[in-house]
Amino acid sequence: MNSVAPPLSSVVVFHEVSKWYGNVIGVNKLSLRIPPGVTGLLGPNGAGKSTLLQLATGQLRPSQGTVSVLDQRVWANPGLNRFIGLCPEQDAFYEWMSGWDFIFTCASLAGMKRPQAREAAAKAIESVGMTRHMNRAIGGYSKGMRQRTKMAQALVHDPQVVFLDEPLTGTDPVARRDLMEIIQRMGAAGKSVVVSSHVLHEVESLTPNVVLLNHGRLVAEGNVREIRDLIDKHPHRIVLVCREYRKLAAKLVAWDDVEGIEILPQRNGILVETRAPEVFYSRLPAISNEAETEIQEVYSDDDSLEAVFKYLVSR
């Protein structure tokens, strides 16, 4: 069951969306456009990630605003589910079914004819590496197997857009690696994938395009670097490792673009704060070539999502 739509600039659009449960606000006036490709949805527990995914898959109705996927309104539009796949967060199955039975049933529920459903189920199970275990009852699966099975049911009807809600939670490193490969393959196959997680490095290794949520609000979105560049008030923090770190610090403190220097004796280096990282980086080779201040290592904390997120969330 191939479902192809013309290319879109945004596959998922949230327009002024709010969702509240009684007095509790799940999502607060959020406007967001998710482009094609793999996008990470990041935020701590309670940030509103699952709420956002449930809004995007039509399970929840927005209290305000509109949600559309592939240019169609989501709520009360079950036909749209032919083009959407969801790997839900909860670890729940019809435990008495075998993996094959479950995926085949999901394919049938998607409206496929029997032979088509059989073929799609076999393909989906193969794509997640569960062919060997497909005839066992799901109740006997490990956590990693269960996650793969969940992923398979999200893919069995060949959707255009796939939402993955905390797909790597509770998995062992091997399963995590395999699941991440599956997600990357989905993106490479042309599917738009939205992956939610509160584990920063997982999202970072899947995609540079991220959306950051906190307390139901959009904190930032875009490329990690772009997000970092937006934070003008917060200078970039760059660590320089050098044997003569105190002499290096003395030289750098005179630079106009250096806002502050912190000595890090435990790292044999210094932490430099600068608002003009590109300029700073361009001048480093020269100073490194000078006697006594040869720089062994340069790295920036800020390019990691963790640093970006901690700063943004704490604002």
């Binding site: 699952s50 399970q59 589910n81 967060e89 909860q90 999901c106 049938s108």
Partner: protein
Amino acid sequence: MRSLWALYKLSIRQQMHGKRWLVMCLLFLLPAGLAMLVRSNANGARPLEIEFVFAFMFIPQGLLPLAALVYAPGMIQDEQEEQTITYLLIRPISKAALYIVKLLATLTVVIFLTCVFTGVMYTVIYYNFADPDVPHPAVRCLQAAAINSLGVTAYCCLFGLMSLLTRRTLIVGVIYAAFFEGLLANLPLSVRLITVIYYTRIIAYRTMSFVVLRSWGESNIAADAWQLDIARDPKLLEHPQVGTCILVLTLASLVLAVLGAVICAKREFHVKTPEK
């Protein structure tokens, strides 16, 4: 349609799976077991009397509401509790259709139980035990199964709707079954017009004979048990006709089913996630 058919099959499998199915089969076997006991021990008990007690008292007043309470509220609630409802909501199936198909699957299962075990019970009662008042027990079996099926359909539609309005469906359902169907239905008052069992009893009374010949004359065991004043109103002119009863039960079931579908269509189904 294929999605709906797949959902129907899935729901039937869910209902006929596990301990609940086993327990329900054993419960439905109870009338047959008790009938066998009565037959073997009670001297002078007529088959028609045994049939009446079990097929038209025990089953409709006890088993059918119980079966409906066990299955109907769980149609949606069980999926929510087990967090599997998400897999249904993300398929191209509207919530209204989801409700109706699950209801149809539930009705299939409970009607199956009703018909099969009614047949078993009649076999136990009438096998090698002819009753001159009952020339065609097989026909009576079919009639009883059909009447009870109509009754359990109404119960399932009612409790299915109830499950969308309250989480305490079991308690409310038991109170309803005990008070309305058990108590009020047995009183010769107008209030019994709002009970399911009243209409099934009228259908049974008008379409089947419950007259037994005793030493002092004929006795209508149904009229006596169901508080039908046939002495004053021998043709039950004050009571609805068979067609009306069937229409009332069918329409009521349809209305309750449609209401349930409408409520389900507008409902959001929150699934608890670990972070919650």
